[in-house]
């Protein structure tokens, strides 16, 4: 009939995964793209970390970073040389993997062999996280004034008391701040954290077991940390948070079916989207802030638009079991891409005469870097790669 036609034209066919990476034997709890989308970092519930080469979809480094579940991973430094892992063993490790280190590391996946010891990369820092909960760390770079010194970062982890936050600076390993639990509200455990360091002030975003989301800003000297915004948007523990600075907003997801959008400026009521799909974890906003994705416990990764009414744009169904982690590849803007192309072209010129194979592999790398990947890690230990928007 007539109405069907425009409807059909307005939607794309259901998305299918482009690739699946099978390497973990346990639930995948963290995924992260790095180095201009050329690498993907995944961590599982047994503490294994795999660094994948995205263009060729092969592992380049495999080691067991923690004896227990990986809670989160991060990257730091020039060329993303330092990898941060946070495990259930109450440790936060910073590893160094430069491009040249990759060759010396094991490539044997846990799915092939878990018993043999693999060489771990160089360990730069190790922090104790004195909290017994699920909350992963949050980090942000501190814009340094002079370019020559090593870039420093701030790392926020849950403190000893329920609901407290400890912020430490790396590499100095000094404590920058400790935020006490919110007075007057029983928030329960800390569940999710996000940090952002603007030129002068630090913004800390926290989600709690009670379903509260709170926003802290650096107080003027001598004052204690007080939340500038608290809202109870969820009936269940908050599972993840992400910031969209361009939109002056942040998003939170929880164990219930609600996704909330909080504005950073005014203390207005959060806007809520009832998705009717409880348990959405690992909410991430893509770097261009047009879409956000959640990993659902029903095995589906959902993509929502960030603008407008947070419309559900895509439901990515492939995993048979619940998904726990999702990550977008960075959307490299034109300049970056151009720069990349230029360097590629320059390199291409140099290597023009050598072999065509090099050119092919480089082209593949460039294509892969430009692809708008969405990676999803699931309970079944598989990681699926989708090409979305």
């Amino acid at each position: 009939m007539a109405p069907d036609l425009p409807l059909q034209a307005s939607t794309l066919p259901p998305a299918q995964p482009k690739y699946t990476l099978r390497g973990h034997t346990a639930q995948v709890h963290a995924v992260r793209f790095l180095r201009r989308n050329s690498r993907l970092l995944t961590g599982d519930a047994d503490g294994w970390i795999i660094l994948w080469n995205v263009p060729i979809k092969r592992p380049v480094a495999v080691w067991r970073a923690h004896p227990q579940t990986i809670l989160g991973v991060g990257v730091w430094g020039k060329g993303d040389e330092k990898i941060i892992t946070h495990g259930r063993d109450n440790k936060l490790h910073v590893w160094q993997i430069r491009q040249e280190d990759e060759t010396s590391l094991s490539k044997i996946l846990p799915i092939e062999e878990t018993t043999i010891e693999r060489r771990a990369p160089w360990l730069l820092h190790s922090l104790d996280v004195n909290a017994l909960n699920f909350c992963t760390f949050a980090m942000c770079p501190v814009p340094s004034l002079n370019q020559s010194t090593e870039e420093s970062i701030l790392v926020a982890v849950p403190g000893i008391n329920d609901g407290a936050i400890t912020i430490t600076s790396l590499p100095s390993q000094t404590r920058v701040a400790s935020i006490p639990p919110i007075a007057g509200i029983n928030t329960g455990m800390l569940m999710a954290l996000r940090l952002h360091h603007a030129s002068t002030s630090l913004t800390v975003l926290a989600g709690y077991e009670s379903g509260h989301v709170a926003l802290f800003r650096t107080p003027s000297s001598g004052q204690t940390w007080k939340p500038s915004y608290v809202a109870k948007a969820h009936a269940q523990p908050v599972l993840s948070l992400d910031l969209a600075l361009g939109l002056r907003a942040c998003f939170s997801s929880s164990a219930d079916a609600i996704i909330a959008r909080h504005t950073l400026d005014a203390s207005t009521e959060p806007a809520l989207l009832k998705t009717k799909h409880a348990g959405q974890q690992s909410l991430v906003v893509r770097s261009d802030e047009r879409v956000l994705a959640t990993a659902g416990w029903d095995g589906r990764v959902r993509v929502y638009g960030t603008r407008g009414g947070m419309t559900e744009l895509a439901v990515l169904k492939w995993h048979k079991e619940g998904c726990y982690a999702a990550a977008f590849a960075d959307v490299l803007d034109e300049g970056e891409q151009l720069q990349g192309d230029e360097s590629l072209a320059r390199q291409g010129d140099e290597a023009e005469i050598t072999t065509t194979a090099m050119t092919v592999s480089q082209r593949r790398e460039a294509n892969s870097a430009k692809t708008h990947w969405l990676a999803a890690g699931s309970k079944d230990g598989k990681v699926s790669l989708w090409d979305i928007y």
């Binding site: 709890h29 259930r88 017994l132 009936a235 009717k276 409880a278 895509a314 169904k317």
Partner: protein, 1004 residues
């Protein structure tokens, strides 16, 4: 001193003689404190061996070893001293670790009290290996066992963590020491290689055989396991406390011993070996022991050129006579299920079969050249009680062996059996199963004799004994006994008589498949198989018994909720959550649709499925929703899934209705009926499912109902085999009883709808764990039994009331008993499907299996030792008989056999009031079902009189005990009522008979 030691180090490195020892030392970072026996060339000073030498690495005498061990040695010292112990050559003095002595005892004691508690659990593989080897001696093993025993006493009085740890350590040491199959042989070998006197050696070995073989280890470890808190003992060490596993280990060890030693043909070793074997036969788990022994022996020798004959003979020759008999019997019992998978002999062709020949091969090997064994073999075919407990296949195998003998053993046997078979007492009183087995044996024997010496058989058959036998059989009142006599007569005459002279009864019951099968038995001629066939047989068995994935204890790792491990104690497995209200802030839906939506992003279509949450409340969303099974195959998978709560419960809940739905729908149910029934029979409840027993029972009933002709007999036999618990057997019997009633059209209204049964008010129930313990699984059967009992007794009581008020007859509108009669006519008669198949499918399998079990195990049978089980069996039979009713096919035979069974239980009944009640109830049912009173009195006069006398006695006795309370409740009163009812019934029957005798003269 330090300088000296440094010098020693440099020198020592050059000496290669002690290399292995040095590597052990060098691994540690502590200063090297080794001293070498070689002189230090090039060094200026000579170390003087002194007391301080004790702390040095390599001990030189056993005494030094002891001192080192006592002085809290470091790992390296421990390694050095233990390896010194194991290499006696390296010690200066003569020391033999494996033979008992004061020094050895001290060392073992030190190892057990100091080293094991400190080092065992934290040691690496090397130290553990050394400890294992040094503790593999008779002294050490008995010391370990007695230390565990001592610890148990301590644990029972006060449970301390330290004792628990020690106990667990000791058990794991014992387990690891004993575990390898070759350990027993190793111990013997090292013991016999020592220079001790023969007498001492024998004594030591005897004590070892006592500890290992008599089940002392088993009982001590089992007791320790009991005293220890749950789950402290690792799973791999639990075999020591599990009877069947332990017995299997023993079997393997002895077989290994036999295999390695039999080549040497050393008499004293053989003596030692059979000493152990004789002990092991008494452990009590004979079947796993024998199975493991034979299988290991066969497999170990499969490759080598030696036949198991030599090894077997080597092992069994020096056994005492009674052990030989036990060994033979257990071997035959092990072979029985291997070669006849079902007792349904109708399915097995009488022709020669591979299994029988293979079994015959093994039996032949056992008895060849062994007079005692040969003598022991004969009772297995001649003794009616023993012989009836073995399937025909085993008896055929025995005959295949005996018939190879040159002398006239076979003739003697034949005469023996014939005499027994013709004995009028045997004919009258022996259970049918014994008579049948005797007849089968007789026919097979006759066949063998006829083939070798037809004349001999002719003389035997012409003898007066046989003629007398056939004629007393033809006189017998028991139809089966009579029929068997006819069979024997026909078959033997068919062998010896000329054409035209052959005996022929020409009746219909001689033309049945059963009769042909019997007549064909004379043609049975089995040959001795080969080793290959036996090997094939045993490997088949292994494949068939491949362990099913057992339900493992739920792992103690922390549960993972939503992908993240949780802390704290284990929660209940997904207990259903009460509906909770979502609390918290009011949710305001979003609504700024005004703000610009990102139109550039074109949405993807939804995937094929994207179900919304089942519940508003996130805590109630069940993501792994399991669907009810749609096929029997699904159902079986779900029932086997003992790891997941959801599928298991759901499967169980739908099992009955699904099975019933699928009856007659293709061959789905009938194809899997037996498998499904097997799953249900052995189903355990890992999740504390509500109404588990009821659901299981309903499912089992449904399966029986799907094809009663095949499943009911199977289930009837299944209730007597295997290692089922009493509760499981009761469920099987209950399922049989209730399914039979349903077939007969007597089902309760809610029979098809198990869910509707409402639980009683909680305050009237015991706490759940006690409730399960004290509520018998036969509740439903009990209910049916009670209602039937009431319906049987009520008319009798009414009649009594009627008669006691006979003087009022004139004013009575209707007699009390006639009211009952009118009430009964109102019931609509349903077609009775049970009557047709009751005898064949329900009654015979149950009674036969019962008789067989009792004959095989005597008072050790669970059916004798657990009155509850016997009561359930009797009630099941009585209920079924009643349900089947007067129209039962072959009622006469059923009545006769049931009567015989009940009469045989008289003695046992007096010992237990529940059995008494069941027996009385059985009698009452018998009399009730046989409606033709006159015929009953004619055909069963003897049984009737016996019953009457006995019931009279019971009635008197219960009355005399004064236990009957005034209001007539309680067990005793119930028994008395039943007895009274029976007496009345019996009186009626006799009255009827007398009336018939008088002819029409007395019209009462």
């Amino acid at each position: 001193m330090e300088d000296l030691l440094k010098a020693a180090r440099t020198v020592d490195r050059n000496v290669s003689a002690k290399q292995n020892h040095l590597t052990a030392i060098d691994r540690t970072s502590e200063p090297l404190r080794s001293i070498s026996k070689e002189p230090f060339d090039g060094s200026t000073t000579h170390p003087i061996p002194s007391k301080s030498a004790l702390v040095f690495g390599r001990p030189r005498t056993a005494k030094e070893v002891l001192d080192i061990l006592r002085a809290e040695p470091s790992p390296s010292q421990l390694i050095a001293s233990l390896s010194a112990l194991l290499e006696p050559a390296s010690l200066d003095d003569v020391f033999e670790a494996s033979c008992p002595g004061p020094l050895q005892a001290q060392i073992v004691n030190t190892l057990l009290t100091l080293i094991i508690p400190n080092c065992w659990s934290s040691s690496d593989r090397e130290i553990k290996g050394l400890l294992r080897s040094s503790l593999s001696t008779v002294t050490a093993i008995s010391a370990i066992v007695s230390s565990i025993q001592a610890l148990i006493a301590q644990l029972n009085t006060k449970r301390e963590a330290q004792d628990t740890g020690r106990c667990v350590d000791l058990i794991s040491v014992l387990s690891e020491v004993l575990k390898p199959d070759n350990r027993v042989h190793e111990i013997y070998a090292s013991l016999s290689s020592t220079s001790t006197a023969k007498v001492k050696l024998d004594l030591t070995w005897k004590s070892f055989a006592n500890i290992i073989g008599s089940g002392k280890v088993l009982s001590v470890v089992a007791e320790a396991e009991d005293a220890l808190p749950d789950t402290t003992l690792a799973k791999e060490h639990r075999w020591l406390a599990t009877g069947s596993d332990y017995a299997a280990w023993l079997g393997r060890s002895i077989a290994y011993f036999a295999v390695t030693e039999h080549v040497s043909d050393d008499a004293s070793t053989s003596q030692a070996l059979s000493q152990l074997l004789a002990r092991a036969l008494t452990v009590g788990h004979a079947l796993p022991f024998i199975a493991a022994f034979h299988t290991t022996l066969l497999q170990r020798l499969a490759e080598s050129s030696h036949t198991p004959v030599t090894a077997l003979r080597y092992t069994t020759q020096p056994l005492p006579a009674h052990s030989k008999r036990a060994f033979l019997e257990h071997t035959l019992r092990w072979l029985a299920p291997l070669i006849s998978h079902h007792d349904t002999y109708h399915l097995a062709p009488a022709s020669s079969s591979q299994g029988v020949s293979a079994a015959a091969y093994l039996v032949d090997e056992l008895v060849a050249n062994d007079q005692t064994m040969q003598h022991n073999l004969i009772p297995f075919v001649t003794d009616p009680t023993t012989s009836s407990t073995f399937p025909l296949a085993i008896r055929r195998a025995v005959f295949a062996v005996i018939s190879r003998d040159e002398d006239d053993t076979l003739h003697t046997i034949f005469k023996d059996i014939l005499r027994n078979f013709s004995d009028p007492l045997f004919i009258m009183h022996a259970p049918t199963i014994q008579q049948e087995s005797m007849a089968q044996t007789l026919l097979v024997a006759a066949g063998y004799i006829h083939r070798t010496t037809p004349v001999a058989l002719l003389t035997l058959v012409r003898s007066s004994g046989h003629m007398q036998g056939v004629s007393s059989r033809l006189d017998a009142s028991n139809t089966r006994a009579r029929w068997l006599g006819m069979i024997i007569g026909t078959a033997l005459s068919g062998l010896v008589d000329k054409e035209g002279m052959k005996m022929n009864f020409g009746t219909d019951d001689m033309q049945t498949a059963d009769a042909h099968w019997y007549l064909d038995l004379v043609k049975v001629d089995d040959d001795l198989g080969s080793r290959e066939s036996l090997l094939k047989l045993t490997t088949q068995d292994i494949v068939a018994r491949r362990p099913r994935p057992k339900h493992e204890k739920r792992t103690t790792t922390l549960p993972v909720i939503d992908g993240k491990p949780t802390f704290g104690p284990l929660g209940p497995p997904q207990a259903p959550v009460q509906q909770t209200e979502v609390e918290g802030a009011k949710v305001t839906e979003i609504l700024d649709s005004s703000s610009e939506a990102d139109d550039e992003l074109k949405p993807y279509a939804k995937p094929d499925s994207d179900p919304e949450d089942s519940d508003e409340d996130a805590t109630l969303v069940d993501r792994n929703k399991t669907r009810p099974p749609a096929y029997i195959r699904d159902l079986m998978t779900m029932l086997r899934d003992t790891e997941n709560h959801g599928p298991f419960t759901l499967g169980l809940k739908h099992a009955a209705s699904l099975t019933r739905r699928k009856i007659g729908f293709g061959k789905e149910v009938s194809d899997h009926a037996e498998e499904l029934a097997r799953i249900l029979c052995s189903l355990q409840d890992p999740f504390d499912t509500d109404d588990f027993d009821e659901l299981k029972l309903q499912a089992l009933i449904a399966v029986v109902m799907s094809s009663p002709i095949t499943i009911a007999p199977w289930l009837g036999r299944q209730a007597f085999v295997g290692e089922y618990s009493i509760a499981q057997r009761c469920v099987m019997l209950t399922a049989l009883g209730l399914s039979g009633r349903e077939l007969a059209g007597l089902q309760e209204p809610d029979g098809l709808n198990p869910v509707s049964s409402k639980p009683s008010f909680p305050s009237k129930q015991l706490p759940s764990h006690l409730h399960d313990t004290y509520t018998p699984p036969t509740r439903r059967l009990e209910a049916a039994h009670l209602s039937l009992e009431k319906s049987l007794i009520a008319p009798l009581a009414l009649q009594a009331a009627d008669q006691s008020t006979a003087h009022l007859n004139a004013v009575k509108v209707r007699t009390f008993s006639s009211r009952m009669a009118t009430a009964r006519t109102k019931r609509k008669e349903l077609p009775n499907g049970l009557a047709k198949i009751f005898a064949q499918c329900y009654f015979t399998p149950l009674v036969r299996s019962y008789q067989k079990d009792v004959a095989a195990y005597g008072s050790g049978s669970v059916w004798v030792s657990a009155p509850f089980l016997l009561v359930t069996l009797l009630k099941t039979l009585a209920l079924l008989l009643h349900a089947s009713g007067p129209a039962t096919l072959g009622l006469r035979e059923v009545a006769e056999e049931f009567w015989q069974m009940l009469l045989a239980l008289r003695v046992q009944a007096l010992g237990d009031i529940t059995v008494l009640e069941a027996v009385l109830f059985g009698f009452l049912t018998l009399l009730e079902v046989n409606t033709n009173k006159q015929q009953l009195a004619d055909e069963f006069s003897r049984q009737l009189m016996e019953t009457r006398d006995w019931v009279d006695m019971v009635f008197e006795r219960t009355g005399a005990s004064g236990l009957v309370d005034q209001d007539g409740t309680g067990e005793v009163a119930k028994v008395r009522t039943l007895a009274a009812g029976l007496l009345v019934r019996a009186g009626e029957i006799m009255e009827a008979s007398r009336a018939a005798f008088m002819g029409g003269m007395s019209d009462f």
